[in-house]
């Protein structure tokens, strides 16, 4: 019988303790890996919320602010930019496309975004993925709306449903634009970005909502009115060549007719992410503490079991086991427990992830990647196992010293 077999038999003889230890290490490694996983997924889905757009242009404010309200629909713009500016930028020779965006209205707390049909062609998220339709198509008429996947799901809207929009952004409908109803013509597929929570209407529709006196969707005379907007909140700009980003940015920043700014989405996104890093670090510190507590528990159990197995170690010693072999026996035991714990932890993370994945996606727009074990997870797993080995040194050393100084234990 090898020492390894002996260790296994020893562990089996105290099933309950072993299982509890494995479980507690499993839970703490699950916590450690889970937090990392959520952080990574959050970072990915955060940084992937917009791509393919070279510049975001808006009235001069802070770049974080512009990013927050244009991409994440959070906060309010300080000022709008004029339609003339939008058209001027569109006329730049370096510019390939411009998609104007108007914000400020809501529907059951979900933001309404006024834009052009180009939006569906040029908006990209994640790795340059385009928006795709689950049902229907993009809007062609003033009082049509395209819904983000989450809105359609939670508010249970179907194609051709009619809905009213409210002025301002609040859950309780403030002031409904009662006379103007919008017909659902398209529902987008889930993207895991704020697009899922957005109602897209044509810019003309947005203007119609805000024109004094009000246009009614029922009035046949609508199209005769000029629905060209005076101003928009911001616009997304795509360039013909990446090389002109900085020159175009400079040109817009030094715009003479009104104060404008242009931001590069990727740069501003990573700046924003860095600013919320502290929360993330706090989480990590807490999970590390939890893991530490688990290992103190492990140490405690190992020490108690060492006390209980004094006799047994003495028997092995008299049979010719060297103190090093006895230390090895104890270390093998805790390595076995730690490794099993980590495996349980990985398993738990994946099972929980599998269960929580759809919930997180719908509720928080967080897309988790559970396809395989990431490098970070591997490092964490190895780290925990390493910690387990370090912990087992203490009882192993005690056993070593004790068995050197003690021979026969006579009762």
């Amino acid at each position: 019988m090898s020492l390894f077999n002996l260790t296994l038999k020893r562990l089996f003889s105290k099933k309950l303790t072993s299982i509890l230890l494995i479980l507690s290490i499993g839970l703490s490694s699950m916590l450690l890996m889970g937090v990392q996983k959520i952080k990574e997924s959050a970072k990915t889905s955060f940084s992937q919320s917009i791509s393919g757009t070279d510049l975001i242009v808006g009235a001069r404010s802070g770049d974080t602010q512009l990013l927050l309200y244009t991409v994440f629909r959070q906060g309010h713009p300080v000022a709008n930019m004029s339609w003339d500016s939008v058209r001027s930028i569109q006329a730049f020779s370096e510019v390939a496309w411009v998609v104007p965006i108007s914000l400020g209205d809501s529907h059951h707390g979900y933001p309404v975004l006024g834009t052009t049909a180009d939006y569906f062609q040029h908006y990209r998220y994640a790795k340059k993925q385009t928006l795709r339709f689950h049902k229907g198509d993009y809007f062609r008429d003033t009082f049509e709306v395209v819904l983000g996947s989450e809105i359609a799901k939670t508010l249970n809207y179907q194609l051709n449903d009619r809905l009213f929009l409210a002025h301002g952004i609040a859950k309780s409908n403030l002031r409904l634009h009662k006379d103007q109803s919008f017909r659902v013509v398209g529902i987008l597929k889930p993207t895991g970005t704020p697009v899922d929570k957005t109602l897209h209407i044509p810019l003309q529709g947005f203007t119609a909502l805000h024109t004094k006196g009000g246009y009614s969707s029922n009035k046949p005379s609508l199209h005769s009115h000029n629905l060209t907007p005076q101003s928009v909140t911001s616009c997304l700009v795509g360039l013909k060549s990446k090389f002109s980003i900085f020159s175009v940015q400079n040109r817009i920043t030094s715009w003479k007719s009104e104060p404008l700014m242009a931001i590069i989405p990727g740069v501003s996104l990573s700046r924003l992410w860095n600013s919320i890093r502290t929360v993330d670090t706090a989480f990590l510190v807490i999970t590390i503490l939890v893991t530490l507590i688990t290992f103190i528990g492990l140490l405690l159990v190992l020490l108690i079991s060492l006390q209980q197995s004094k006799r047994e170690l003495a028997i092995l010693r008299t049979m010719g086991a060297h103190p090093l072999q006895l230390s090895w026996l104890l270390m093998l035991e805790s390595i076995f427990i730690t490794v099993s714990g980590v495996i349980v932890g990985i398993w738990l993370v994946n099972v929980l992830g599998y269960i929580l994945k759809p919930i997180l996606e719908v509720k928080m727009g967080l897309i988790l990647s559970f396809s395989m074990i990431s490098l970070t997870e591997l490092y964490l797993a190895l780290g925990i196992i390493f910690f387990g080995i370090i912990t087992s040194f203490i009882p192993a050393l005690l056993a070593y010293r004790k068995s050197l100084s003690e021979g026969f234990v006579s009762i």
């Binding site: 047994e312 028997i315 008299t318 049979m319 010719g320 086991a321 090093l324 050197l404 006579s410």
Partner: protein, 239 residues
């Protein structure tokens, strides 16, 4: 001249923590193929003596020759290996590893000694077969063999201990108060079995006990108080 089984010269051992106890043996030897009984009251150093001759503790001074090898000169690993190869040891109680079956307990010494393993495999095809054979010799019922050892009676446990001590036929069997937990009838049975086995396999036996009534079964009887040349009267009063 044949090597003595055990030979102590100029031997002195004392514990740092207990200055009142010391074991001082100028010269003592046991001849090969002996069945030796060493008697002494508790506290006189019987266990210390056994620890010393099995190499578990080192004396402060002096030499211990076992079968011609001076074990005080061996490094710790070699010393443990020497013990594994040449000794079979029986304690008084709780001799066995609780989470192993009877068979597993018996073959355990072969884990630590290649010599024992080799000798055991000369007798039987596998180690488990050898354990079974010894159990049969020692009247341990077949149905007990795969039971956890803590389900056995004390008498049965001590018989398993004999099997474990003699597997692979080590040169010296050491019994430390092996019968103190047994009643008179079981003690007699145990002694008969142990001596028979030692006879069968031609093993030397060093039997240590405070129970003088056992000495009738042995050719040679020593009293540790006579071997130990420390002034015992004082240590007795102080211990």
């Amino acid at each position: 001249m044949a090597n003595a089984l055990v030979q102590l010269d100029n031997f002195f051992l004392t514990y740092q923590s207990d200055n009142n106890f010391s074991l001082n043996i100028n010269h003592f030897s046991i001849e090969p193929d002996s069945r030796v009984f060493i008697e002494g009251p508790s506290g006189c150093g019987k266990t210390t003596f056994l620890n010393a001759i099995t190499g578990l503790i080192k004396p402060n001074r002096g030499n211990i020759h076992i079968l011609g090898t001076d074990i005080t000169k061996l490094n710790p690993v070699a010393c443990d290996q020497f013990r594994a190869d040449h000794f079979g040891i029986i304690f008084q109680l709780f001799n066995l590893i609780p989470y192993l079956s009877v068979i597993e307990n018996i073959i355990l010494p072969c884990t630590f000694s290649k010599i024992k393993k080799k000798k055991a495999l000369l007798n039987s095809q596998t180690l488990a077969d050898e354990a079974r054979r010894l159990c049969f010799e020692l009247n341990i019922d077949d149905h007990l063999l795969h039971k956890p050892v803590n389900q056995l009676s004390i008498g049965q446990q001590q018989r398993v201990s004999i099997a474990r001590a003699i597997i692979g036929q080590p040169d010296i069997i050491i019994a430390d108060e092996a019968t103190s937990a047994l009643d008179q009838e079981r003690t007699d049975q145990f002694m008969t079995l142990l001596l028979n086995e030692c006879q069968t396999y031609n093993l030397s036996l060093i039997f240590v006990s405070h129970n003088k009534s056992l000495q009738s079964s042995f050719q040679q009887v020593y009293s540790l108080n006579h071997i130990n040349e420390t002034e015992l009267e004082t240590s007795h009063v102080l211990v």
